[in-house]
């Protein structure tokens, strides 16, 4: 499965540039809705962290969430793969649809949801196991590899796509926790894509990284969006501008504005968005 995807990438790369641009626009038009949230409210005990957020997330787009600290970006992100379930006292209202299914439906198994909607955390959190095991764990868990060789294939292609292969191929049996911070974060991205999810959630994935490691991950995001829908929380406005197709601005638990990235940075409609982007608060 993974190998065919790789050849897809290669095929696209061989296309003549202007034709690929044309194709790109066509696919833009034919994009369909991947996830849609309507009136999502989140409570932590008595305090309300989100006051009814609605948005639609398109297939294969990169969408970034920006906004001042504590405005609910992470909270909303965690709603999308139900990681809020694991927080004591958290309560979610509203509807979130993935493809055609309400993910808060009791009939839906959260394990399946999380296989479809992967997550990369702010702080790199590899398992204290070997690099190989870190990647193989999810694949084995979901029965994606029948033979040992398949598993090795998945590990290799995931590491390749995360741009980590050349750095670690000689030491797959060494602990993932022994890598540098940026490598660990790419390892976590590789771990997330190894189970071949449809959507990847990233909560400030570069906040602990230096500019070089950051640009590696940004290139990676650009690469990954061919196959995945990516939702990224960031405090770095340039990063949002660089990597995302659309940008959502959150403030005090509300979604204020969601526009094409170019529009929101050059021509914000809302006063608060403008103030935040121009650095007047936040």
């Amino acid at each position: 499965m993974v190998t065919t995807m790789k050849s897809d990438v290669e095929m696209e790369l061989t296309l003549v540039p202007d034709v690929s641009g044309l194709l790109h626009e066509q696919s833009e038009r034919s994009k369909r809705i991947k996830m849609s949230a309507s009136d999502v409210k989140v409570f932590y005990g008595e305090t309300q962290a989100l006051h009814g957020v609605s948005m639609e997330i398109m297939e294969n787009e990169v969408i970034s969430f920006i906004g001042p600290s504590g405005c609910g970006k992470s909270t909303f992100l965690r709603c999308l793969n139900r990681m809020n379930d694991t927080i004591e006292g958290a309560r979610v209202e509203g509807r979130i649809i993935l493809d055609d299914q309400n993910i808060y439906d009791t009939a839906l198994d959260v394990v399946q949801l999380r296989a479809q909607v992967g997550m990369v955390f702010q702080k790199p959190n590899p398992f204290p196991k070997s690099i190989f095991e870190n990647i193989a764990y999810g694949a084995r868990l979901h029965g994606l590899a029948e033979k040992k060789a398949d598993l090795a294939d998945i590990v290799e292609s995931s590491l390749r796509r995360a741009g980590l292969w050349s750095e670690v191929k000689g030491r797959l049996d060494q602990p993932g926790t022994g890598l540098s911070g940026g490598q660990q974060q790419r390892l976590c991205i590789a771990r997330a894509i190894a189970v071949n999810p449809e959507v990847i959630l990233m909560d400030e994935p570069c906040s602990a990284l230096d500019p070089i490691a950051t640009s590696v991950i940004e290139e990676l995001i650009d690469e990954l969006k061919r196959n995945f829908t990516i939702i990224i929380v960031t405090h770095n406005m340039q990063q949002a501008a660089r990597v995302s197709d659309r940008t959502a601005f959150f403030h005090l638990g509300d979604l204020i504005e969601l526009e094409k990235t170019a529009d929101i940075f050059t021509n914000p409609k809302n006063k608060r968005t403008e103030d935040y982007i121009t650095g007047r608060f936040g």
């Binding site: 399946q112 999380r114 926790t177 997330a192």
Partner: protein, 450 residues
């Protein structure tokens, strides 16, 4: 303004150096205090160990006499060893064998010993009463066992090392005042002279006492009293404790820590587990007597009951240690596992629990070592009874090492059992040290760094 303030204030360097001496003095005082406390603790441990070892180590060597035993056919007149016949059933043969063994047991083996002794001390023939005091009475069984194992020995002479009477051991080791008048001595003047002579001739020697490890307790032949029964009893108890307290304790802790909702109910449970760990051990003994013996009708003095009682005592320790170990695992590990679609149970069993293993083992083994040394609750379930056999199963009557120490400590033949007790303590301490060493080794072995 601000420059004004700064001009009025003394330079920071002066200010610091003024207080620096005081700070350093305080630090030195504190370090000295810590050093004194550590040394004090070490001194007490050293005194304790020195005391036990000085008393205990000599007890591992025991006076034993070397005799040439002639298995005189006139005295050992036994029928031939039964041979299995062609059509004989298993049980019939066994029955014949047992009755033959009983017959061997009827032989007057003491006579053989007396005869051998006469060869060393001619006088002994004239004073059979005194001669019987030299070798401890239990050794005739060693002769019997030899004949049962090898009936062909009859008619031959064998050199054997036999334990002397406990009083001779005491006398030769100088553990009794040699100037006490005759009527206060345990041995007659003649026996004392003989013992001194045999010791001088090298016929009686201090030999390493294997009987201390291979024999059960004894009251008829004090010199052969050993730790085997108590050791096996303690071993069975520890097996029961390990088999029950670790799985139950870890399961309870994992449930409480990882799965149980946080509410009033779990708060109450938590408080009560902590209380349980603080309950005096003797109360667990009372509970064990009431529940396991009176209600479930488990046998009195059996190590399985002791093991159950000690399990009750150890489980809270295991639960607390496990919960503490689980708490140290960073939540990011759980999130990582959940984030790629592991179920909560998988996240715990694949990632969290394995990482907590070193902590769990350390806590549990220390709990078990504590249980190994526990005495009070065992007294209440009858494990202080005198048991002269080695338990073959956890359901047999048995002692335990700490109870054996308690029993020996109270024996009337103090001069002999003081050393015996210290030797038993040495064995118990060695076991404890072994368990603690194991805990450290396991922790090092399974430790993961991240």
């Amino acid at each position: 303004m601000s420059t004004d303030i700064n001009q009025k204030r003394p330079r920071i360097a002066d200010q610091v150096s003024a207080s620096l001496r005081r700070r350093h003095a305080r630090e030195r005082r504190f370090r000295l205090l810590g050093l004194v406390a550590t040394l004090l603790g070490l001194t007490f441990v050293a005194i304790l160990f020195a005391n036990i070892f000085i008393k205990g180590i000599p007890a591992f060597w025991q006076a034993s006499i070397t005799l040439d035993i002639y298995f005189d056919p006139a005295i050992v007149s036994i029928p031939p060893e039964p041979v299995r016949e062609a059509k004989e059933s298993d049980s019939d043969f066994r029955q014949r064998r047992v009755s033959w063994e009983n017959e061997v047991g009827m032989v007057n083996f003491n006579r053989l010993i007396q005869n051998a002794l006469t060869a060393k001390i001619a006088e002994a023939a004239d004073y059979p009463r005194d001669a019987a005091r030299i070798v401890t009475s239990g050794e005739r069984l060693a002769l019997r066992d030899l004949v049962i194992k090898n009936p062909g020995i009859v008619g031959e002479t064998r050199q054997m090392h036999l334990l002397t009477d406990a009083n001779i051991d005491v006398w030769l080791k100088g553990n009794i005042d040699r100037n006490l008048p005759d009527e206060q001595q345990q041995l007659s003047a003649r026996v004392r002279d003989w013992a001194d002579q045999l010791y001088a001739d090298g016929i009686i020697k201090m030999r390493f006492s294997t009987g201390l490890f291979t024999n059960p307790d004894s009251r008829s032949s004090l010199a052969s009293a050993g730790l085997r029964g108590a050791f096996m009893g303690s071993l069975y108890m520890m097996l029961v404790v390990i088999a029950l307290s670790i799985p139950l304790g870890v399961a309870a802790a994992v449930y409480l820590e990882e799965f149980a909702p946080r509410n009033r109910m779990t708060d109450i449970i938590e408080v009560n587990i902590n209380n349980l760990a603080a309950v005096p051990s003797i109360i667990f003994g009372l509970l064990g007597a009431a529940v396991f013996i009176n209600y479930f009708k488990l046998p009195l003095s059996a190590s399985v009951v002791g093991g159950l009682v000690l399990t009750l005592m150890t489980m809270p320790t295991v639960i607390i240690a496990t919960r503490a170990a689980l708490k140290t695992i960073p939540p990011s590990i759980r999130q990582a596992a959940l984030g790629i679609g592991a179920s909560p149970t998988q996240a715990v069993f694949h990632h969290v629990l394995p990482l907590a293993v070193p902590g769990i083992l350390t806590g549990s083994i220390i709990g078990i070592a504590q249980a190994l040394g526990e005495t009070a609750p065992l007294l209440l379930i009858g494990m202080n009874a005198f048991v002269a056999s080695v338990p073959a199963s956890p359901f047999d009557q048995s002692n335990a090492l700490p109870v054996q120490i308690y029993l020996w400590q109270g024996n009337e033949l103090r001069n002999f059992f003081e050393g015996r007790t210290a030797a038993a303590i040495v064995v118990l301490l060695a076991l404890m040290l072994f368990l603690n060493g194991l805990a450290i080794w396991l922790r090092k072995r399974f430790e993961t760094r991240w």
